[in-house]
């Protein structure tokens, strides 16, 4: 059964890698640096809320967060195997990584759903 798991997990990792490479830097640059440091004008609360209310934006944010988390999950799992040589703990690591990604996706979905 494990044989069939690796291909889709790698596909998720790969998709997550592309998405996070393209989009994560700009999100962090805007909201983590440029706006707090005043380099760019801060958008108003109402403007951001209006954006997040749009269904398309909700889908975009959900896909971004989910795929980026699954990218982390797969890569971190292998880093733990190789970096710390803990392959014998692989069930625990598997659950922690992909479980974490699933939890993050669920949190994102519920937050987006509850913003009316």
């Amino acid at each position: 059964m494990r044989e069939s798991n690796e291909a889709p997990l790698w596909a998720l990792f790969s998709a997550g890698g592309v998405v996070s490479a393209l989009l994560i830097p700009v999100h962090l640059f805007l909201f983590g640096l440029a706006i707090p440091l005043g380099w760019l004008g801060a958008p108003s609360y109402e403007h951001l809320l209006a954006l997040v209310r749009l269904p398309l934006v909700k889908v975009y944010l959900l896909v971004l967060c989910s795929l980026a988390l699954f990218h982390w999950a797969h890569r971190f799992r292998y880093t733990l195997y190789d970096g710390l040589k803990v392959k014998h703990l692989n069930e625990v690591i598997f659950a922690f990584c992909y479980g974490g990604a699933v939890v993050g996706t669920v949190v994102a979905a519920s937050l987006l759903w509850s913003i009316r």
């Binding site: 044989e3 690796e6 291909a7 596909a11 790969s14 880093t79 195997y81």
Partner: protein, 259 residues
């Protein structure tokens, strides 16, 4: 130009030692000499018991792989003059991540087993009689797999790959590159058979694209590229299987001569 160069060579005799030690030899420095020449000089004139593999001395047989100053290299392709400045010392050790039989000789049966596992030969769907004629192949079809066919099985890539050292069940760069050489060959229909070995968690999926294998390959085979291409193919196969579950075996029509 210094007259001599110092070689620090790993020695291990299973009857005498419990672990490898280093022995220093001072060898004349000739501008055109490679590490293999220095080793041959040592064996010839200084210590006949030095044990190492070599054959063609021109980078095609793949026998003389060793670690030179921590880098996997072919000893017949590594010039002493590259190390002349470096405090004049060259450290020669057996290839990393393999058991050591003696001195610089590694035990390769594990690698050969992995190679055999991936079935590096043409697997036709059915054996054709001689009367059917030769397989025809266009230059484009040759380009599809030619780079991967350049592998000389020197196992330098295995010494460069940390996953090989960490995971003894990982099939390894050369074996996967050779599997791809046959998978991509238009005359071969064995991709399904190889998939059972390669798509296994202990097949290709241990690879994390470190990329060291491609960097050290003396024949520019690019095993890392072969492995990533295989991952993409495997992912696409899975998607296809999901969307079209009524069975789609990828069958390649091998180029057959018009009888």
């Amino acid at each position: 130009m210094a007259d001599n160069i110092i070689l620090e060579i790993a020695r291990y005799s299973p009857e005498r030692d419990s672990a490898p030690t280093f022995q220093t030899f001072e060898v004349p420095f000739r501008k055109e000499w490679v590490v293999l020449d220095a080793l041959n000089y040592v064996k010839d004139k200084m210590d006949g018991s030095l044990t190492y593999r070599w054959s063609c001395r021109m980078g095609i047989c793949g026998s003389c792989g060793m670690m030179v100053n921590g880098e996997p290299k072919l000893s017949c392709a590594t010039f002493l003059s590259s190390y002349a400045g470096n405090g004049n010392k060259v450290r020669v050790e057996p290839l990393r991540y393999f058991p050591i039989v003696r001195d610089l000789v590694t035990e390769l049966s594990d690698f050969l087993g992995k190679l055999k596992k991936v079935k590096p030969w043409l697997i036709p769907k059915q054996e054709l009689p001689l009367s059917a004629g030769e397989f025809l192949q266009t230059p484009e079809q040759l380009e599809d797999y030619k780079q991967f066919s350049m592998c000389i099985n020197c196992t330098l890539c295995y010494s460069a790959c940390p996953v090989v050292g960490l995971d003894p069940t990982f099939v390894g760069p050369a074996a996967i590159a050779l599997a791809q050489r046959y998978n991509k060959d238009s005359r071969d229909q064995g991709a399904e058979e190889r998939r059972v070995i390669l798509a296994h968690p202990e097949g290709i999926w241990g690879c994390t694209f470190v990329g060291e294998c491609t960097r050290v390959c003396p024949k520019h085979v690019d095993p890392a590229g072969a492995i990533q291409q295989y991952k993409v193919d495997a992912a696409l196969e899975w998607v296809k299987g999901l969307l079209m579950p009524w069975g789609q075996r990828k069958s390649k029509e091998g180029g057959r001569a018009a009888a």
